[in-house]
Structure formats: C-alpha cells, structure tokens
C-alpha cells in the first residue's frame, strides 16, 4: 500500500500535520506497519520548470520538428539565452504551440522516466538539424506521470510559469510503501486518509477527517432520469449497493495534479472519470465503478440488477478477457445481461470511452469472502479486489459517493446528477457496525504491564477519532464508522498499546516456578543417535519430505500408499515419502560425482503412509533414521573386502551398541524369508532393498528396521555404486524397547585371569547365527555355573570351489568368579563342542 506524505498532508487539512519525514517513516514502522520501501520523488523533479512557449515555428526540412522559444522568467541559471532572454528548444511534439504553458527539462537534468533505469538519460545542449536544443519540453510519459507520449504536457492558461513543477504538483514528496499483510484486518488503511489519521495519532496529535468524510454526507439530487436497482443479494452478499446517474460529462485526460497523485500511488491514469473513481479509492479504500450509462441503459433510464450468475453465463471484462461466471461470482447486470463482475472488475461492454457523456456511478459493499473466492477462481487480483476482500465499511459508501461526485464536478464542471441516489441497503446488517466495546482498566494493565493514566488512554484513542469515555474502571469505545476491526476488548488493547508505542512498555522476562521442563525421550534418543553417527564419520543430511513419482517408483514403492500433494507449484513435489531411503539415496550419486570417494549419509525424519493414522484420526507418521554407506569402485577396492551389506551392518551394530543397552538380542531375518504383513512401514521401505542381500532387524523379538543392499532397480535408477548399503530404523519401536530394558549396561568382572582360546568350526550349510547358537548351546551345557564367557568372531574361510562349506574361527574368553581356570579344562570343552557341532 503506497501512501504519499504530500497527499496525506493535503487531505488532513492540518497545518500541524507532522513534517519530519524520517521520524514519520520511523513511527510508521514502529506503530503502523512494516515498510517495504520509501520512494523520494523530489530529486526526480528538482530541475523541471513550468514555462511559457513564446513561439513555435516548424523547422524547414523536417516534418515534425518545431523551433521553440520559451520563457522561464529567467528562473534557470547557467543556460544559453537569446537577446530577448528566451531559451531555444527544439520540440518534436505535434501539439506544441505558441502561448502554451509546458514543462521544461533543462540541460543537465535527468529525464524522470529514465531516472531509475540502468541508463538514465541526461539532457544536454544537443544540436538537432542545425539548431541547438537546450533541454526539452516533456511529455507526461517522460515525466513518469502517465503513459501518454503523444505530445508534450500542457497546463491550464492561468497556471503561473517560471515556477518549479514540484511546487505546482506537490512533487517534493516521499511515498511510503507499507506491507499489505499488516492491513489484512484494516480496510480503512487501504486508503491514504486512514494512514494520515494513524500518522497523526502516533504523533499524539488529534486528527480530524475532512468535512466530506461523514457518515451522514449524502448527495441530494434533482433527478432528470430514472435509475432503479434490483438487489437480489441484499440479505447476504451485497449489504449495500448505491448508484447514481451523472450526465453532461466529457471524457478527457485528467488534470496533471490528479494524474500525478495517481501515478505516485501506483495507479496508471486513464481519463478523468476513471481517474476520479481511482483517486477516491486511494483516499478511502472504497472501490467505485463507473458504467457508461448509454451502454447499460436507455437514455437516462437504467435498471441495475445485483444477482447470482445464471448457468453458463459469460462476461467480457475490462482487461479483454472473457470469463464464464461461476457460483461465487456476484453479477452486476442490466435487463439484457451481465455488465460487471461485482467487486472484481467491470465489463468491457460498459467501459468508459471518449464518447461517454453519462455514467452510472456505483459505490457498494460486498461480502469479502465471496469476493475472495470469485477473484481466486478467475485469478484476478485487481486494486478493487485487494480492498474489497478486506471488507471496507458499508457505512462510508454515502460520503464516498458524494465526494466522488464533487471531484467529478471539479474535473468536469458541466457535470450534473441525472438521477436520485439509489441506496439499496440492509439496515439490520448495517446496524451491527459501531457496536460499543468495553475494556476494564485492570485487563488493560495486565496486558501492558503498566497502568496508563485513563485520560491518556482516552486521548490516544480520540486522536484516532475513536470516541472513548471512562465510566468507573471501564473504558467504553464506540468504533468510528470506518473501523470494522474493533469488536473485542483485546482489539482495543492492541490499539492502545500500538498508539502508546510497544517500545514504551516495561520489558521484563516472566517469572516462573523453578520446575525443570518436561523431557522428551524421543528427542533425547535422536540426539544420542545423531551424536553416535557423527562420531563414526557419518554426515547428517536433510532431504525433502516430498518426492516425485519417478523417485517413488525407482524405489519400488507404490504411489497409492503415499499422500499426494494436489497443488504443488513444482512438479518435483508430488508425494510424501514412504520411507527415507529414496530421497537419501538420491543424494549418493551427486556426491560421488562431486569427488567424494566414500561416505555414510544419514537422515532422521518422518515418513507417512495413507492408511496409517494416529489416535486423533490424523496421520502422525513414523519417525525413521536411515543411513546409506557408499564407496566408488576404486575406493571400495582399496579399502573394503567383502560385500557392502556388512558395512551397513557394522554401522547398525555400532549405533545400537552406542545406546549402552544391556542384554540386546539382535536378530537378522533374511528379507526374502521375512513376514512384514503387519508392518506397513517396513514392508513399504523393504521395496528398495535386495531380497537376498538384506535383513529384517529385530531387537528382543520386535522388528526395529531393515538393513541391506539395494535392489537392482533402485541401484540402476538412482545410479548407486555397486558398493552401497544401508539401514532404516523405526525410532519409536526402538524407544519402546529401550524403555522396557531397565537393566544397566555394566556388569562386574572377575578377579581371576581369563583363559583365551581360538576355535574353528565348519558351517555345514548353517548360517552364522545358527553356528553361534549351536556353540552357545554346547558351552552352556558344559560349563559350570561359576564360569562366564565371551565369544568373538575372528575369521572366516571359504575354500575355493565350495559353495556352502565355510569355516568360522572364534575367540573364546572364559573366566570364573571363584577360581583360576586352566587351559586344559577349556580345551576339553572345545573338543566336546566341536563334536557337538558335527
């Protein structure tokens, strides 16, 4: 929302309106809303002068150039003048004539329209067809006032010349662009009148709205025509609809001041009628619309209907687009069809044109929610929509309409009212505005942390034209007719705190009891796991929660199981990920390509499945940790013997070991033999793993995750290196098991020496786990109760040409708490063990 300090000073009519520009900008930021930009207009126009064209003679040999002598009353120094004191300028505009008043840009000045370009155009004493031109006479387009570049700007005869353009048009101005977001609830601040009021108030100065801005300012008309309104949406979507016919208009460019006020506020001038409606909107935040009466009525008669759209009804809009109306649109129509999309944009068929002589001027109030839906459905975000979807007060329609007419009279003195003012309004709805609000001083003090003097509070409010009174310990406020945002005591607290200044409140941290905050075991677990993996050289990655279909399919997963995003701007974001592996694995190849030869990436994050809902019926998702270890071919050959699977498994066992849990019972079931029917998250995650080279991991008989190499499809699609494997754990499952395990990780050691012996056993087609189980069974059977032992794998050997008969070597460490064991004793046990295993 752009607000011009010059316009606001003008509209305030207050000689004491604040002038300290920097302080105004500071206080707007601190007490009204964040500023996006401040624009200084002054420097653009510091050299431009109003001059009189004394003579303009066509230059022989040119079809359009004129040689002009201009009079600046000798205002400009350092410029070449003739003996008569006049300045010579060559002008190419077709409309240049002697005795005109025009705008001159002297040599050395910058053409304002080029000032913010990368290549500002600096005027010189340029020779054109043998004549020196001292600067130029400027068009409105060159002055950055409108798009009009058909001719030079000319000013009314009575204008004083030799003066600066700045003084004539109030161009020594600062435009402050305030963030719209701040004003979502303040339709009044989409008008510069509203912002002027706030500025006064934050300077602790009383503001007085201009005389015309009174709820009871209504037009009185002597009708010569007849206008009727059939407002079918009075009870719901259009609680006020005012129209009046105005006749004897002539459509022309607006006076330069009006064009300049519009353009500096960000609106392009078009013609006097449309410009007046836009200017009034810029002041009040109330959009207006003018229809060409000849195009919507018959003579000075017209019947306007406000209604819902008909089936398949179409409308051509002002911007040239053709739309099919939908149910949320509010249609402004006459008897033959739609003439406007209410609150959004007027129709093309009733547009003001050069031939317009009479108009229907509309000032209305529409349901802000319906306007928003209508605008979103058609993708139209006009200035009117920006304001109407904040819900400006319908109580300001009469004065706004009256003021618009008075400005039309100013730009078109012949203009006359041609109908009664038709005011279709829903009285019951309008009465709900301006309901009084009570705020007790105690609540105010609680929020502010300090007791303000009640009289000061009343002054703060009345500076912003809010009628406030004190009754006992209660402040009672009747919101002004333009305020739609004040309905609860807390709204008044905001108003008071803001006008008083948040910076002026006491700033202290709250006092609280010395209770330690509640701990979150899951968050603690995540921290522990993160720390352990970092200490093991792994790098934590964050990847998106959303993946595309190609990645989902590359990971072998079923898109039907994933939540699907319906409105993503980027085609990359289609589905919520079902497991972490796909997006994590997608990071492997780029890092190898970037020259990282081996690494372990891990991520802790959430995964979601469509049918997995929490107790509240919403998808709470699962908490996963995934790791992927990879090495390029060269590095794998150099550093690692064996399959990548064992690399991932090493990381997994290290990680679980780092949790210092005693009596872990880890089990690995080959993925191809595992039953994951009741494990939707794991069965989905398993799609990415190789069935013969992966395992389902259980801790104390409960599944906690998967570990393994990735299948061919994933490997190929994601360009994974041959040496790549990983795991994915469910952290809530893990946490549950940890919580169940209360025994400490520490156990007492014996004072007696250990006996250490190695043994080698054949696998006889048994898995490693089966071999270990068999060894344990034999040892437990043989060893007396005072002996405890530990068994470590040391080596394995698969003879050439043997598929199944491998050998495993173990180290057995035995100790007794009661005595010194002998080697012989243990050697006997091992002999028996070997025979047990055969």
């Amino acid at each position: 929302m752009k607000a011009s300090l010059a316009i606001m000073r003008l509209i305030s009519g207050d000689p004491n309106f604040p002038t300290d520009k920097d302080e105004i900008v500071r206080r707007i930021g601190a007490q009204i809303g964040a500023i996006e930009e401040t624009i200084e207009l002054g420097p653009l126009y510091s050299d431009a002068l109003v001059v009189r064209v004394v003579s303009a003679e066509p230059i022989a040999g040119s079809d359009h150039l004129s040689l002009c002598q201009i009079d600046d009353k000798q205002t400009r120094k350092d410029v070449a003048r003739g003996a008569d004191g006049l300045i010579q300028v060559v002008c190419g505009a077709p409309n240049v004539k002697a005795k005109q008043l025009a705008v001159w840009l002297p040599p050395g000045s910058v053409v304002p329209s080029s000032a913010h370009s990368s290549d500002p155009f600096i005027l010189t004493n340029r020779k054109i067809m043998d004549f020196v031109s001292n600067g130029m006479l400027a068009s409105a387009s060159e002055l950055a006032i409108s798009n009009d570049h058909d001719g030079i700007v000319t000013l009314p005869e009575k204008t004083d010349y030799g003066v600066s353009l700045s003084s004539l048009l109030n161009l020594d101005d600062t435009v402050v662009d305030i963030e719209n977001k701040m004003f979502t609830h303040r339709p009044d601040l989409f008008g510069q009148l509203g912002i002027a009021r706030e500025i006064s108030a934050v300077f602790n100065q009383p503001f007085k709205s201009p005389n015309w801005y009174r709820a009871d300012n209504t037009l009185t008309a002597k009708p010569s025509g007849n206008l009727s309104v059939d407002n079918q949406l009075l009870s719901t979507s259009c609680q006020r609809f005012m129209v009046v016919a105005i006749d004897k208009l002539s459509v022309e460019p607006s006076p330069l001041w009006l064009q300049s006020y519009l353009s500096r506020s960000g609106i392009r001038p078009l013609n006097n009628i449309v410009d007046v409606t836009n200017y009034v909107m810029l002041l009040t935040g109330q959009p207006l619309h003018a229809y060409d009466l000849a195009k919507v009525g018959d003579g000075l008669q017209a019947e306007i209907v406000v209604r819902n759209p008909l089936a398949n009804e179409t409308l051509s809009l002002l911007d040239g687009s053709q739309i099919t109306l939908n149910k949320d649109d509010i249609v402004i129509a006459n008897r033959s069809g739609a003439i406007g999309l209410g609150g959004v944009m007027g129709g093309q068929d009733s547009e003001i044109s050069e031939s317009t002589t009479a108009i229907v001027l509309e000032c209305a109030s529409f349901d802000m929610y319906r306007i928003r839906r209508s605008s979103m459905a058609h993708g139209i975000f006009s200035e009117a929509v920006t304001r109407f979807n904040k819900g400006p007060s319908p109580l300001q329609c009469p004065p706004v309409l009256a003021y618009a007419y008075s400005l039309l009279k100013e730009v078109c003195p012949e203009a006359e009212l041609a109908s009664e003012v038709v005011d279709s309004k829903n009285d019951a709805a309008l009465e709900k505005f301006q309901a009084s609000i009570s705020l007790d001083l105690k609540t105010l003090k609680t929020y502010l942390g300090v007791a303000l003097d009640p009289n000061e509070v009343i002054t703060l409010l009345s500076n912003a034209e809010l009628e406030a009174s004190l009754e006992g310990e209660t402040i009672s406020v009747r919101p002004a007719f333009w305020r739609t945002d004040l309905s609860a005591p807390v709204d008044l607290i905001e108003e008071i705190a803001r006008l008083h200044g948040f910076d002026n409140l006491p700033i202290n941290v709250p006092l609280r009891p010395l209770t330690p905050p509640e701990a979150s075991p899951l968050q603690q677990l995540k921290r522990q796991l993160r720390r352990a993996l970092v200490a093991a050289g792994a790098n934590e990655v964050l990847s998106y929660s959303f993946i595309n279909r190609a990645l989902l399919e590359a990971a072998g997963q079923d898109p039907a199981q994933a939540f699907k995003i319906s409105n993503a701007l980027s085609p990359e974001l289609e589905y919520y990920r079902l497991s972490l592996a796909p997006s994590l694995l997608a990071k492997v190849h780029p890092n190898l390509k970037a020259g990282f030869e081996r690494f372990s990436l891990f991520e802790i994050g959430k995964t979601h499945l469509v049918n997995q809902l929490g107790e509240d019926g919403l998808p709470t998702g699962a908490e996963h940790l995934a790791l992927a270890a990879a090495a390029d071919a060269k590095s794998a050959k150099l550093h690692y013997q064996g399959d990548a699977y064992y690399h991932a498994k090493t990381y997994l066992e290290y990680l679980l070991g780092s949790l210092q849990q005693n009596s872990q019972e880890l089990e690995y079931t080959p993925l191809k033999d595992a039953n994951l029917v009741n494990e939707p998250f794991f069965s989905s995650a398993a799609q990415t793993y190789s069935a013969g080279r992966s395992a389902v991991v259980s801790l104390n008989k409960s599944i906690i995750g998967l570990v393994g190499e990735y299948n061919q499809k994933a490997t190929r699609s994601l360009k994974l290196p041959p040496y790549c494997a990983g795991f994915e754990l469910d952290l809530n499952s893990l946490l549950t098991l940890i919580n169940q395990n209360t025994s400490p990780a520490y156990s007492e050691r014996s004072r007696f020496p250990r006996v250490v012996q190695d043994l080698t056993v054949p696998s006889n087609a048994r898995s490693y786990a089966e071999i270990v189980a068999a060894i344990n069974k034999s040892l437990k059977k043989q060893l007396p109760p005072d002996v405890s032992y530990k068994l470590y794998p040391i080596d394995s050997y698969l003879p050439k040409d043997e598929a199944n008969n491998s050998f495993w070597t173990f180290r057995l460490e035995s100790e007794s708490f009661e005595r010194t064991l002998t080697d012989k004793e243990i050697a006997t046990v091992i002999e028996q063990l070997k025979s047990d295993l055969n």
Binding site: G29, A30, G33, K181, R372, K390, T443, Y447, L448, G449, V490, E494, A497, R498, D503, P506, V509, P510, R512, P513, T515, P516, S520, Q523, R527, V534, A536, N539, E540, L542, S545, F546, I565, S566, N567, L569, L573, Y576, A594, E597, R598, L601, K606, L618, Y640, Q641, D643, A644, Y646, T650, L671, G692, R693, A695, K713, R716, Y768, I794, S796, L798
Partner: protein, 361 residues
C-alpha cells in the same frame, strides 16, 4: 491414428514379444530391424498421424525395456548373503568394512542449531514438543481464529493433499508450527490450575508452496513458542525473545525492535527485528544496510485461541512466536543460499565436520 498403422504396430509387437521369450541376448530385441523400420516410417507419415504413431512406438519400446530389465535383474542378481554373519567370508581383518574416521562426521547445521535453540529455551523452563508434517485444516487455521475463507489464509501458500480429513477437507502440509498451538495448549491446560505456566517450544518442518531461490525454500524449519500463565504482558514477550536472541548470538549488546503486524491468532501481533549482529547497526549487506534484521512474528495469544483450547482468557494470558530456523542459522554462519540446507551436498555438510576440507582418500 488409422486402423492400418495400429495393426502394423500390433503385429510387430506380437512378433518381438515372441522373440523376447526365446532370445538369449534379450537386449538385442531392442535393436531389431522391424522396430527400426517402424521408427523410420514416422517422417513419411502425414502430420496428423505422427504424434499418435510415435507414442505407440514409444509405448512398445518401454514395454520391451521393462521385460528386458526384469530379466537382467534376475541375471545380474548377486548371490544371497548370510545376513547373520558379522563380516564377509574370506575377508582380511584389516580390510573389513569399518566406520569412517570421526573427523569426517557432521551433524546437519539446522539440526545442531535446533538442539541449541531448544537447549537455551530449556534453561528458561520451556519443554520441547515436535511438530507434524501433515495436519488438518482445523489445527492449521480453524483453531487459530482464521475464519473459513479469510484472506489471511492467502499469506500461507499451503500445500494440500488429495487425501481428506473426516470432514472431507484436504489435509495440509503445515505452513507454520503454530499448527501445534491448539494441541499444546489443550494438553497442558490443566497445569495452569496448579499454578504451573505452559512453557513449550515446538520445533518442526514447515512448508510453503513457492518457488525455490537463494532466499526461499518450500521446506524449512520453524520453532514455535507458547507461554501462558496468569498476568502475562506484552513486555514479557519482548523480553523473552530478546534474551533468547542475545544468548543465541552470544551477544548481550543486541537490541530488538518491534513493528505492529497482523495475525488472526494473536492480538496484539508484532514483527520482531534484531539489531544486526554483524555490523553493530552501521549497515552491511546482511541487514540490507538498515541496521535491523526482521526475524520473527509474535504476539499475545488471541482470547479465541485460548478459549478454543479450554483456557479462560479472563484468567490467563499468553504469548506465542514463530521463528524461522534457517534465517537464524544463515545469519550465524554467514550462509548465503538457503538451498544448501536440503542439497545433501557433502561439500556443504562436511564444512561442519572437524575435517574442513572434507574430501577423504
């Protein structure tokens, strides 16, 4: 496409499928002269038929490839492993897969900073509750005093899912961690009666449907904060955030300033700016030469939000804030591009490891 062309493709399809079944080098089927001949026909066809014919050929090729890939998968599949073994058969102890060296490891800067943020708030008495990545319209908007269809919803650019909640409304990828406010308030409301304030921070992933550039991410982290007790005032809010930021940047000279703002779920609402920690307010590129950095939105919790959670707004007041974690961290480390965080690039991640060069041998 005319019948004749259709038939031609169908005939070739049948023939090639038969070949696939018997061929030893199945990939060779893709190079068959029949398929080539069909492709070379495209250029000769009338314009109107080209696209449809081309599509039909591509479909045929895709089907053949899928079958060939499946065969290759089986053919190339490595032997099954003994998944229970601790290491590979015949591997030398020195060359068995081990952990990488500790100096290469790094936690993600957003995660370690989030831990730090939660730790600072923990010292101030705030417990931490994690946010969600899918929520419903009620928690994201309704419980936070956003009326249905309110224009304030437009500021959030929310992702929605095709799947709906039980009221038939799309589920939402939360655009702010405030989506947890209602749950947290409700969960701890009973504590208030025993004179225990509600003091919770809520870290979480949030999402906005916008294009990604150096300053914008569709996926980012926020930390929400909620504090409710008897007699809480606006100055408490400002002071709490101020001391947090001073501690986070380890700089007690930091100044803060507030600007009024609008959120439906707080009143008054404020935007919070921090004096630039880099230039001592002299102006630098990080603060766009303003001396101030806009950092977060906050405000006094709206009475409607308290009431919706069963807390009497006449007895209790509270404040809430939401701060973007990326912004805090980028400022702390001078990180220039928000896209680094989710890039997964080791060149970025290993800068947070002990070994700064990051390339391992």
């Amino acid at each position: 496409m005319n019948q004749e062309l259709n038939q031609e493709v169908a005939t070739v399809r049948e023939h090639l499928m038969q070949q696939l079944e018997t061929a030893i080098d199945k990939a060779a089927v893709l190079r068959s002269p029949e398929l080539k001949a069909l492709y070379s026909r495209i250029a000769q066809l009338p314009q109107a038929d080209r696209a449809a014919f081309g599509n039909a050929l591509n479909q045929l090729k895709a089907d053949l490839m899928r079958i060939i890939n499946t065969h290759q998968d089986l053919a190339q599949a490595l032997p099954d492993l003994d998944v229970t073994a601790p290491f590979a058969l015949n591997s030398e102890a020195a060359k068995r897969a081990g952990l990488l060296s500790a100096d290469l490891g790094s936690s993600h800067p957003l995660m370690s900073e989030l831990e730090l943020i939660c730790d600072i708030f923990a010292t101030m008495g705030f417990s931490a509750v994690e946010s969600r990545e899918i929520d419903d319209d009620w928690h994201m908007f309704g419980a936070l005093n956003f009326p249905e269809g309110h224009p304030a919803r437009d500021d959030y650019d929310t992702f929605m899912t095709e799947q709906t909640d039980e009221k038939g409304k799309p589920l939402i990828a939360p655009a702010h961690t405030s989506t947890m406010q209602h749950r947290v308030l409700k969960h701890y409301a009973a504590d208030l009666e025993s004179n225990k304030p509600i003091a919770v921070v809520i870290p979480g992933r949030t999402f906005r449907n916008e294009d990604v550039d150096a300053r914008h991410e569709h996926t980012f982290y926020q930390v929400e904060g909620v504090y409710v007790a008897k007699g809480v005032n606006i100055g408490n809010l400002i002071a709490t955030l101020k001391v947090f930021l001073q501690r986070y940047y380890n700089n007690d000279e930091l100044k803060v300033k507030t600007q009024p703002f609008y959120f439906p779920f707080t009143e008054p609402s404020l935007e919070f700016a921090l004096s630039c920690p880099f230039c001592k307010m002299q102006g630098c590129s990080i603060c766009s030469y303003s001396g101030w950095i806009e950092l977060l939105g906050c405000g006094m919790i709206h009475p409607n939000v308290l009431s919706a959670a069963g807390i009497d707004p006449n007895s209790y007041q509270g404040f809430a804030w939401g701060v973007g974690v990326e912004r805090l961290v980028m400022m702390k480390y001078g990180i220039e591009d928000v896209r680094h965080f989710e890039s997964g690039r080791l060149a970025f991640l290993r800068q947070f490891s002990a070994s700064k060069d990051g390339l391992n041998s």
